[in-house]
Amino acid sequence: MSQVQEFEKAISSSDSVAAFDEHGTSVVKRIQHFLHSTPAAVPLIVLVLAIAVFGVTIGGRFFSSYTLTLILQQIAIVGILGAAQTLVILTAGIDLSIGVIMVISAVIMGNCAVTYGLPTLLAVVIGLAAGGACGLLNGLLVAYMKLPPFIVTLGTWNIVMATNFIYSANETIRDADVDVQAPLLHLFGLNFKVGTAVLTLGVIAMVVLVLILWYVLNHTAWGRHVYAVGDDPEAAKLSGIQTRKVLISVYTLAGLIAAFAAWVSIGRNGSISPSAAVTDYNLQAITATVIGGISLFGGRGSILGTLFGAMIVGVVSMGLNMMGADPQWKVLLTGVLIIGAVAIDQWIRKVSV
């Protein structure tokens, strides 16, 4: 024990300042702490509420396993893209190019298999490689050129979109051609029935992918590093994490997952259309991620939340559809959800002591 200085005499030595103890016993504080340690809880609660509300207003028609599994089929692509987006947003970045990477990968897969007549499996590998390469480019620019991710991916978004149109001459590959020449591309469109529930392989792929990523993010060193880099890059670096490698691997993996989403999207859409590049897939993925409670400031949130976030959007749009509401209500409600999710995220962040 060091000798106590004059001005510190008043402090009783038994006082344990740096001890770890429980704080805040009020209910609100406890809720805040719970949400802080369980980031996927908010979207899950919202999802359950949304299902309950629509279930009560619409009735059994909504609650049927057919409807609920139809929702899953509709969100499979956005869910997979959202998983990729989650990785990037966890590092405090953003990937605006993710939607067009998916489209160009689909076009490349289709062209290789149908137009060039390559074996389908090889075409898929080439498509995945193209998506990964786009992601790698993003990663290199972010990690080594130190450009803001928003700017980098805004640039590659345009570059990839234009490349897509130039390369494909905006020619759609027809469903029937794919079916005849490369049925493997339709793999994730395969469905099977369990009672009235209809599940596609795409839906299962989405769930499995999210579970794998959840494992990787929470139970491997790489996953912890992704969080650490997004949380405080300087601290991560001083802790001995190679932040550049983590960033590059994250963007590359995001591109790869986007290319995987391309394969799933071919299964769902049947045909392969380059003009899908104008669809705001990237914004839908960001929406699912944000509603899922992934903090745009990085380092916070659970990828399970993204899955719930995508489901919330799916449930709301299906529910409003069945109620015969103007589709714009869905857009309006999505906007409300986004702002609400970010507001809750800010509140949870203030949890400290």
């Binding site: 060091s2 200085q5 740096a18 001890a19 770890f20 103890d21 491997t220 405080d232 802790s239 001995g240």
Partner: protein
């Protein structure tokens, strides 16, 4: 001192453009001691410390650890050699748990298939070691090792950072302004922590502006001035105002204390 120093530096030189941050600087750290490094702002303290901890590569000069010459190209290399640094900003990831933070960048994986192929972290092992270390340093009263660091107070965070350094530092621990951001009570706790770490036999380099703290815990005081070691004094033989006077150049240090 009859013992051999654990770390010596001779003739360190570091220039940033036309600014000379280190000018033929020497440094010695002996086993089991707390060496305080003081100096006016801009005297080159942090550059000296960064050179030792691998964050800065000196232009000239040699550093010897345990008699063997070393050249660290990054903080990671210094860390691998057994030199741990507690940075002023602590270098903790607020959203991660205490255990995750302590093992950040050197996680333990599960043995066998789970660890080798699925790269699964061995959470129980990491949490146990983290808890042991915190208990050893008297920081554990109610245990929730999986609590996020951002839910801790400033002193508690400092405690985690010090525990991390003490857990992995095999040769020495460098602490940069460990009490600067803390209140009186928490500073006291951290000073006790520093003495605890010393008791475990690890030498400590303490950089601080707080003279009372320096004079309280330090065994020797390295006074840095104009990019080099001006002198090393024994805090028992000099007063704080002497030290400040040497540091600012208001008073010349005695011949005996002068650095060679």
């Amino acid at each position: 001192m009859t013992q051999e120093p654990i770390l010596t530096a001779r003739g360190l030189l570091k220039r940033y453009g036309r600014v000379t941050a280190l000018n033929n600087c020497d440094f010695d750290l002996y086993p089991g001691e707390i060496l305080a490094v003081i100096g006016d702002n801009g005297a080159g303290k942090s550059t000296l410390i960064k050179a030792i901890s691998g964050a800065v590569i000196p232009d000239e000069g040699i550093i010897e650890l345990d008699g063997k010459q070393v050249l660290f190209k990054s903080p990671i290399e210094a860390r691998e050699a057994g030199i741990e640094t507690v940075y002023q900003n602590l270098a903790l990831s607020p959203a991660l748990s205490i255990a995750d933070n302590m093992f950040l960048g050197r996680e333990i994986r599960k043995p066998g298939f789970l660890g080798d192929w699925l790269r699964m972290l061995d959470r129980p092992a990491m949490e146990k070691r983290a808890r042991d270390k915190l208990t050893e340093l008297g920081l554990m009263t109610i245990q929730n090792i999986s609590q996020a660091v951002e839910t801790l107070s400033g002193g508690q965070r400092q405690g985690v950072a010090v525990a991390r350094a003490a857990a992995f530092g095999s040769k020495m621990v460098i602490m940069d302004e460990p009490t600067a951001a803390l209140g009186v009570k928490e500073s006291r706790r951290v000073l006790e922590l520093i003495l605890d770490v010393k008791k475990r036999g690890l030498p400590i380099v303490l950089i601080s502006h707080n003279m009372p703290h320096v004079f309280e815990v330090a065994d020797r005081i390295h006074i840095h001035r104009l990019g080099r070691r001006l002198c090393v004094i024994d805090p028992k033989q000099y007063t704080m105002s002497d030290a400040v006077a040497f540091m600012t150049g208001a008073k010349l240090p005695p011949e005996a204390a002068l650095a060679a």
